[in-house]
């Protein structure tokens, strides 16, 4: 089980560092925009509650209510997060959970990357260099951010969207198709495989991501646009750092493990 142990060690080390770095980057990039959007989200909810208390014939009020029941699986709470469910307090507690979730996410993706590095190392006999790791990181960026982001752009709180489960299914399908397509192009050097790869890359977008017919939100579109850029750039930092660092740490640990074995 030495390979498994090397992968886990390397992923925990790389994931911890990348998770912390990305938490700091997010504090300047994405988090301020999320907090701004939540002001609009909360204002809209107060408005919604007023509308519910005083029945209005206005179509807008009705739409809001339908959205609340249709899209929010958490039921009719005073926030998206569901009535009574625990949530971290704003400030330190919230950011601490964000850091923890970032670290876990980074460790999870690092396990995936290091798994590939171990297989590559097994077939080529050479450990994956930090530079090759960085390229794998870029592939991760394309697979997990760019491709799903084209159909489902990063969304701020308070912006209504299609039902959660359908979006999650499309997201997963886009990730799998993009990963498969890139692998066909990168590892099978034949024209039919390249064509099949390109078809796989485009397929999820031909099918199209689930979306609402009309979206009404108080969140300004300039804020949403800034958020798309912030998420994409934060994610680029995340993936290049994770790819480079995971490969470097894994190569070191795995070499050590093989020498001992």
């Amino acid at each position: 089980m030495s390979t498994f142990r090397s992968i886990v060690f390397a992923s925990v080390i790389a994931g911890f560092i990348v998770g912390l770095v990305v938490t700091v980057v997010q504090q300047f990039g994405t988090v301020p925009l999320i907090l701004k959007a939540e002001v609009f989200e909360k204002a809209a909810e107060t408005h919604q509650h007023d509308a519910a208390a005083v029945p209005q014939p206005a179509a807008a009020g009705h739409d809001h209510a339908a959205h609340d029941h249709g899209d929010h699986e958490h039921g009719a709470g005073d926030h998206d997060h569901g009535a009574g469910a625990w949530e971290p307090r704003d400030g330190f507690e919230r950011n601490a959970y964000t850091a923890a979730a970032n670290i876990l996410t980074a460790i999870g993706f690092a396990l995936l990357l290091a798994g590939f590095f171990a297989v590559r190392c097994g077939t080529t006999g050479m450990s994956v260099s930090w530079h090759e790791g960085l390229l794998w990181g870029l592939a991760g960026f394309a697979v997990f951010t760019l491709a799903p982001g084209l159909g489902l752009p990063p969304e701020l709180p308070g912006v209504p969207a299609a039902p959660l489960l359908s979006r999650q299914i499309w997201w997963l399908a886009a990730v799998l198709a993009t990963a498969g397509g890139l692998a066909m192009i990168a590892f099978r050097r034949s024209v039919p495989a390249a064509i099949a790869g390109v078809i796989l890359l485009t397929l999820p977008h031909l099918i199209g991501a689930p979306e609402l017919a009309n979206v009404e939100t108080n969140v300004p579109s300039s804020l949403t646009h800034q958020f798309v850029t912030a998420v994409t750039m934060t994610s680029l930092v995340f993936w290049t750092l994770l790819g480079g660092l995971t490969s470097a740490v894994f190569a070191r640990i795995d070499r050590g493990a093989n020498l001992r074995a």
Partner: protein, 72 residues
């Protein structure tokens, strides 16, 4: 093919089997260990980013938005 040639062929086949088998077995072990680690990774990411449990959602809320995982 004479008897001695046949014997030679058998011996060389045995040698090559000996030479390749341990490497092949090591490869399979490495592959399955790598796959196990990757499954673990997918599980961790899935739990943090995609779980419908309210408490998990609330704790990882900002991360889900920042990673453009489908949220809400």
């Amino acid at each position: 093919m004479s008897q001695s040639q046949l014997a030679d062929a058998q011996v060389s086949a045995q040698i090559s089997a000996q030479a390749t088998l341990p490497v092949a077995a090591g490869q399979v072990g490495r592959l399955s260990q790598a796959v196990m680690a990757m499954v673990l990774g997918v599980f961790v990411v899935g739990m943090v980013g995609f779980s419908h449990i309210d408490v998990v959602h609330n704790a990882a809320h900002d991360v889900r938005h920042s990673n453009a995982f489908p949220c809400h």
